[in-house]
């Protein structure tokens, strides 16, 4: 394998000069630089990433921890993964993606061995067991999803409370007084998926203030049973005039359910949901909805993480909520 010494010899300079030419960390004469460039391209030299990492204590790799929970809807996850990966590459970082079942061990493993310069956690839950090892790590961490205790970590999430208020207010303004809410599965609440109850509680609170009856139900996230559960929920609340769906799997299945029941939107029922624009390229979703912004969240997390890696005193940890935006697609009346 051709190394920096080979290049130095071919160019007739020292190894340090080659290194500085590579990094640009000190001025090099034009002539010398040209000889080095020539040698590099003739020999096909590429810096050995491991050796550079050892010398600089920077790997230029970010860890990405993904958890494939059974109650997670796969198509939604991929958007976050892609967003993080793309944002990282734009800043010169690669992604070490870890899908281990046991997240805390994975965090410890990749941080204590110095495989990564920082860590992004996806699918963060209220009491996430990965937070402690991440706080103990040398490397900074950024979370997508709000945990109970954000200490020492940068946190990014959609403002689910505000999203709920936005939606309830929107329906209230249209005169709806009986509204169904389809939440994530019960299991998501139980394992601490804070986005689920943050949305539900804010919706209930807001509905109460408006004297609206809000019927909150758990939806499903796995087939078979998604259509069945949505049907059962609608059956249970015949008086409802609007449906809020905070459940990826259920909203994906909703068009088929409504067609089957002969329910026209928004004539017979108003529908509002939360999903990302890209989600609507996989599923046929003509509904007014809050944009969940996976791209923006992934990008924010990576950008802050990289700043924290490169600027030692970047300031106190950041907890940032993305402002929900309601996109009106005409599914409410």
């Amino acid at each position: 394998m051709v190394n920096i010494a080979d290049v130095a010899k071919a160019a007739g300079v020292s190894r340090s000069t080659v290194s500085y030419a590579l990094s640009g960390n000190r001025p090099i004469s034009r002539e010398t630089r040209e000889r080095i460039d020539l040698a590099i391209s003739e020999l096909g030299f590429t810096v050995n990433a491991g050796a550079r990492a050892l010398a600089t204590a920077q790997t230029m790799v970010l860890g990405l921890l993904v958890q494939f929970e059974d109650d997670e809807f796969p198509p939604a996850m991929l958007q976050y993964i892609l967003a993080v990966s793309t944002a990282a590459r734009e800043l010169g970082y690669d992604i070490l993606m870890v899908t281990d079942d046991h997240g805390p061990d994975a965090v410890r493993r990749i941080t204590s061995s110095n495989m990564v310069d920082g860590v992004v956690l996806l699918d963060v839950v209220h009491d996430d067991p990965r937070l402690q090892p991440l706080r103990e790590a040398r490397q900074p961490g950024a979370l997508v999803g709000l945990p109970r205790d954000t200490e020492g970590l940068d946190v990014f999430d959609l403002d689910f409370g505000e999203a709920a208020r936005l939606i309830v207010d929107h329906l209230h303004g249209l005169g709806h007084r009986d509204i169904i809410l389809v939440s994530p599965p019960r299991h998501v609440f139980e394992r601490g998926g804070a986005y689920a109850w943050r949305f539900r509680e804010a919706a209930l609170e807001r509905a109460a203030r408006h004297d609206i009856h809000l019927y909150a139900h758990y939806g499903e996230s796995q087939q078979p049973g998604i259509e069945r559960s949505v049907n059962a929920i609608i059956d249970a609340r015949p008086q409802a005039t609007a449906l809020i769906v905070h459940n990826d799997a259920s909203i994906a299945a909703l068009p088929a359910v409504l067609r089957e029941r002969g329910i026209a939107v928004p004539r017979d029922l108003s529908v509002v949901s939360l999903y990302s624009r890209d989600f609507g390229r996989t599923f046929l979703l003509p509904y007014t909805a809050v944009e969940t912004s996976p791209d923006e969240l992934g990008r924010l997390a990576v950008q802050h993480l990289v700043r924290r890696i490169t600027e030692p005193d970047y300031g106190p940890p950041v907890v940032r909520f993305v402002e929900p935006q309601l996109t009106d697609r005409g599914s409410t009346a």
Copy 2:
């Protein structure tokens, strides 16, 4: 950061002895080993992965190249990613996931810098531009998907030709003589998605032999337009008694389309498709289908890749087709 010298000092031995205790590459007395273990846990020592990689020329990291094509159906991709990641971890490898738009550069970048010990390529097309840089790399490569030229690379794929014959024979045996085939989008054929035409050609050839009319159409893979395209295809072939769907997006949308049209399966129409078992947890798919085995393909690719990394003369490249298996879910008659 605590390093191997700190451990050696605390345990009262040399650095080499600590290293050998870690690797198990030479016998260590019980007493010495215990002192070392104690020092390691007291100091909280973890081997520095980069330093080890530099010394051993092994990173214990596999590159995973993923391409998010617009005509790809995201839910299906995730299964391959997860399969590769899981199989790698079981063999002690981590995954460097690269989603660059420009695959050939990405392959060159991660291999020439020695960031990885081997590379897995997903979504391989007929004339895949990533193959050349991969062949030129020091590291071995494994592909999921069959390219035109398999030279020098281990290749794994479902036997799409056999899958087509299996399905056509199955329908022929049931007496069908007019069959619709919904293929992947035209763009997949154009960019060299070999699985698309391997399946279609084998199906056409087999149908001709049986004197079956096989009506091959391109389906869609993005909303809006999937339901519409399936409807148009069915409208165009009223005489058909069976439907073969080789298109993830279309099969996911099929239940809604058939319900809307009032078509009962298999009474009015027989349906056969190709998808994985897990795919049926995201979508409601009660159809007889060939299992596409993403788990098995991902696992095979990783296992062979790792053997090729660890056993210098593992033998000639392998091209292995996974045998298609038809799971009868009663959607044909």
